[in-house]
């Protein structure tokens, strides 16, 4: 209905996806991926799928971000072999 608002959300979606793909720092990529999930959840809600948007916000922006950050702490950038 508010196509201007949805256009802004789509622009943010594409920007967050491109940042998380091309950035070097892994922590920045994880944060950008959380932003992607949250914007996608808002788009789902604006399309009327409130349940899907709720799941996307809780799982995508909440728990997977935590698990990715833990995995970054567990790995190192260069191998020690």
């Amino acid at each position: 209905m508010h196509w201007e608002l949805e256009l802004v959300l789509y622009v943010f979606l594409v920007i967050a996806a491109l940042v998380s793909l091309y950035v070097k720092d892994l922590l920045t990529a994880v944060v950008s991926l959380s932003v992607f999930s949250y914007v996608l959840a808002m788009l789902f809600v604006s399309m009327g799928a409130i349940d899907v948007g709720f799941t996307e916000a809780v799982v995508g922006a909440g728990v997977t971000g935590v698990l990715f950050v833990v995995m970054i702490y567990k790995t190192s950038r260069r191998s020690n072999d």
Partner: protein
């Protein structure tokens, strides 16, 4: 990540915010049948509130909140509640998860269905919460790498 965070802002904020996330997760679980949300979303929010304490605090503190050894048994209990409600209805003559056949005779039929779906949501929420926390604990298990 076994050590506590140094910043007092992080310690205070995680301590303050975590109970509210947990309260909203319980609200989502118990209102899952007539509003958006349900067992999965509510269980994920409960897991998020526990993981917030687990990230910010040291191991001695978060073991007092939710013990590591409770993860898998409580998850199994959640699955058991889900399948138990379904199997009771099936053994008493209905289909699987047909809550009309649950042995709660003193309630009206609509309330019997209400209680059945409530038990199922609680089981799903418990299973999802404990398994998500168990994934986090298993990731941190061998910390000497």
């Amino acid at each position: 990540m076994k050590k506590s965070s140094d910043s007092p802002i992080i310690l205070l904020l995680s301590r303050v915010i975590s109970p509210y996330i947990m309260l909203f997760g319980l609200y989502v679980i118990f209102h899952g049948h007539y509003s958006p949300g349900g067992g999965f979303q509510g269980g994920t929010m409960l897991a998020a509130s526990i993981l917030l304490i687990r990230i910010a605090m040291e191991e001695k503190v978060y073991e007092m909140q939710f013990k590591k050894s409770f993860d898998i048994p409580l998850g199994a209990l959640g699955v058991l509640i889900f399948f138990g409600v379904g199997l009771i209805a099936m053994l008493l003559g209905g289909n699987f998860l047909d809550h009309h056949f649950l042995p709660i005779d003193w309630l009206a039929p609509a309330d019997v269905r209400f209680m059945g779906i409530l038990f199922v949501e609680v089981g799903v929420g418990l299973a999802v919460m404990t398994i998500l926390v168990a994934i986090y604990d298993n990731l941190l298990e061998d910390d000497d790498a």
